[in-house]
Symmetry: C2
Subunit: 237 residues, 2 copies
DNA sequence: ACAAATTTGTTCGTATGTATG
DNA sequence: ACATACATACGAACAAATTTG
């Protein structure tokens, strides 16, 4: 049975996952039938089936009764580097990036925002909530906080340009970089799951970052909530 | 009530969270009672209670009936940088690091391992599974894969030294750095939840990395599974 | 319209190793 | 040391959906 401490079906899962991630099986392609996989790995059909089930739970494949198992459109590698920009990030993997404003509102700085933006607690803050989309797939729900004192017109520019980088450029910020990045994960609330079109039983990655201008002054405090079935963070140094 | 699009209790949750993360309320300390918090924020006790409930679900505080709410021992900031080492990482935040071997076994390289370690599929691989502990709290369950051809004696050295960095040094690898890092999240399986002493309903962060020597040759392929209630990843550039 | 073949889904039964108390 | 529960793995059979001839 389990000769080397790792369950057979897990090994099979890993092997197939590797073939999918390495693009040796392409997105949309049909996997061999359960029967064939069982033959190939020399196991019972149940064991092969278990591996497929696990891949399906990961969102890597989709199983259709009577038809077979199919590789889902691949995960987006979201690169985190000092100059991460959403649109560049998505464009690099030859996908069509698009942003959409979910809502925008004004509020007053709570201690977290105040510290990140280096403003007083209670100072006015503008929040832009955006949906990041790649090839029609909803990738991230981002909350972007700006000090109103400096970026009062951010909403105006963003709604015309559809890009935070471009909106900031209009306001004299031609360059900025990532100062801190904190990554965690949790279960989504109902609203997040609905907006990201994902199951509420699947976790989301939370990426918190502060962007500063070349002089080190805080520009933006952002909290992104990413579907972890559709994205994978890649850290570049 | 919800004057600016974000529920009151969420704002209170954020404010208290900020105070906890900023160490203005220290680990182990008792929070003000629900009644006092309600007075402070000018809301009904139920609203304050909702915020506490949310913090408790996040694992940030622990609520004891009839006694009060207490700040859990704080989250560990786990830094990811080119030279990340577990023990240095934990020592920096003045905690006691310790490692523990969960199990070790030999297996043959699946496509994922083979690519990462630059060896043939099916080549012998040594797996060390370790538990990373900080201040008695279980932080991470790490799977470390080494090519047996080069690191046949890794288990021998690790079991005497209790540190992978030191074991590698014994084998001539005095320096190594992180080549790639991929971060994702998922629900833990039962074994992972049990070993990490966490609820199976709480997600785990998955950090996959390849460490290489200064010449760029792969040394170790690692997959760490981290309790995301107790850790937060910080990316440093 | 129908039959046959293929493929996934489900339910029995049996056996074994591992973890827990 | 023992009993119990659980996950793993194999085997056989049949049901349900889909495709093909």
């Amino acid at each position: 049975m389990e000769q080397d401490g790792i369950a057979l079906w897990r090994q099979i899962e890993q092997t197939i996952l590797g073939e999918i991630e390495g693009k040796r099986i392409k997105p949309g392609a049909r996997l061999p039938s359960e029967h064939d996989l069982a033959l190939r790995f020399g196991v019972n059909r149940h064991t092969a089936r278990r591996a497929l089930q696990a891949l399906s739970e990961r969102g890597v494949i989709r199983i259709e009764k009577g038809r077979g198992s199919f590789v889902e459109s691949s995960m987006v590698d979201y690169r985190i580097a000092p100059r991460t920009r959403f649109s560049e990030n998505i464009a690099r993997v030859s996908r069509t990036p698009s942003g959409e404003l979910v809502r925008s509102l004004e509020l007053t700085a709570d201690p977290l925002m105040a510290e990140a933006l280096n403003i007083d607690i209670g100072a006015p803050v503008i929040l832009l909530e955006t949906m990041g989309i790649a090839d029609g797939q909803r990738i991230s729900l981002g909350a972007h906080y700006f000090a109103k004192s400096r970026f009062a017109k951010i909403l105006h520019h963003y709604s015309r340009l559809g890009s935070i980088t471009k909106a900031l450029a209009k306001m004299g910020v031609t360059d900025y970089l990532r100062k801190t990045t904190r990554i965690s994960a949790r279960m989504p609330d109902k609203r997040e799951a609905r907006l990201l079109r994902q199951k509420p039983t699947e976790p989301v990655l939370i990426v918190e970052s502060v962007n500063v201008d070349p002089q080190g002054r805080p520009i933006e405090y952002g909290v992104a909530c990413m579907s972890c079935a559709r994205t994978q963070l890649i850290v570049d140094f």
